[in-house]
Symmetry: C2
Subunit: 203 residues, 2 copies
Amino acid sequence: MALRHAVLAALLDEELSGYQLTKAFDLGVANFWHALPQQLYAELAKLEQDGLIAGREVVQEARPNKRLFQVTEAGLAELERFAATATKPSFIRDDLLVKVQSADHVDTGALIAQLTERAAFAEAKIGLFDELLRKMRGDRSEQEYLRHGERIGPYLTCLRGLAFEQGNRDWCERAVTVLRERRSGSRPAVRTTVATQQPDGPE
Amino acid sequence: MALRHAVLAALLDEELSGYQLTKAFDLGVANFWHALPQQLYAELAKLEQDGLIAGREVVQEARPNKRLFQVTEAGLAELERFAATATKPSFIRDDLLVKVQSADHVDTGALIAQLTERAAFAEAKIGLFDELLRKMRGDRSEQEYLRHGERIGPYLTCLRGLAFEQGNRDWCERAVTVLRERRSGSRPAVRTTVATQQPDGPE
DNA sequence: AGGCCCATGTAATCTGTTACATGATTCC
DNA sequence: GGAATCATGTAACAGATTACATGGGCCT
């Protein structure tokens, strides 16, 4: 039950509509969580029912009306409670890693193409994060902002997002280099035969 | 539909039983994917039904019998096909980031405790990854292994896992430092009032 | 005697994804 | 005239987590 809290956390900084939330959680940034529009609209409805957020209608002329949501006192209390509970470690779950894991047995050309694409995607996100951090800092130095800036939460999660994407980019580039080098000195890929394991043998 | 392929990828290197697979996917390493035992047993059953893996019974005396699974030619073909499909980017989804995002509004003591715990967890995984990499390399240098080592796939995913956990550790430590410094120069946390947004106003 | 490791699952529930739906306005 | 943006959903399905179940052997 954490999307719930991710939405609350996102609404702490500013009042947002469902649509604006989807922008933050979808492509673009998604610093600290990711979710699709459908999930967000559903979650907003539940949160409002439970009194953790309050919505107010904003009538617009040129565009459809929208509802802006704000965290209530009860919502803040719920976040506080959540923040105090123990946190389970998070795990990697990435299709690209699965593909690279099988690099010895599949076509590396396809892998190289996908690693290159991912590196470019990571680079783009790095740019977005850099810009976001600069905006938050304004004219202050990072040192200064970390000590006294308001919104240290968003700043820190953004730093994690940045480092994560830098890690992605660097790894993808390295993997591409390695796979290319190996292809130039290529021998045909051979299916390795599995040794027969004896009952109760040493593991 | 990617757990399927993660299991296939894990079985490429060696024949494993369901139980042994759970060890690889659960705590411990989980270099490139994570899953619980129940999912794995279910997935193994489906994969066998579909002819992508083949199991053979190993009778044991001192322990319960087990079934070891091996990827079939059809399974390898399926992985090959999977590796050639486009890969969607993966996103962060971590409760700890959600908590840190709300750092300006919740008790930072609890956050510091959890960040410290996570840093320790990351450190432990770093140790495991280091050891795994050393084992794969044997007496060869990393340069040498990257160029000519067998099992480059597992080596590369392990490198990503290592970098990811180093990123976690570094970020957690930094966040702890920042939050501590701010606490020492502490003023009471104030609930910021949200500015009222006008219809069709600039966004 | 109690707890952990091996070994394998079922069942219920919760979460996330894919596909589909609607309708006005603004930009090219 | 067609695509993109704003704005909000419903329905069906796939994937993941939590809880529960079983049973022998080994270690302290």
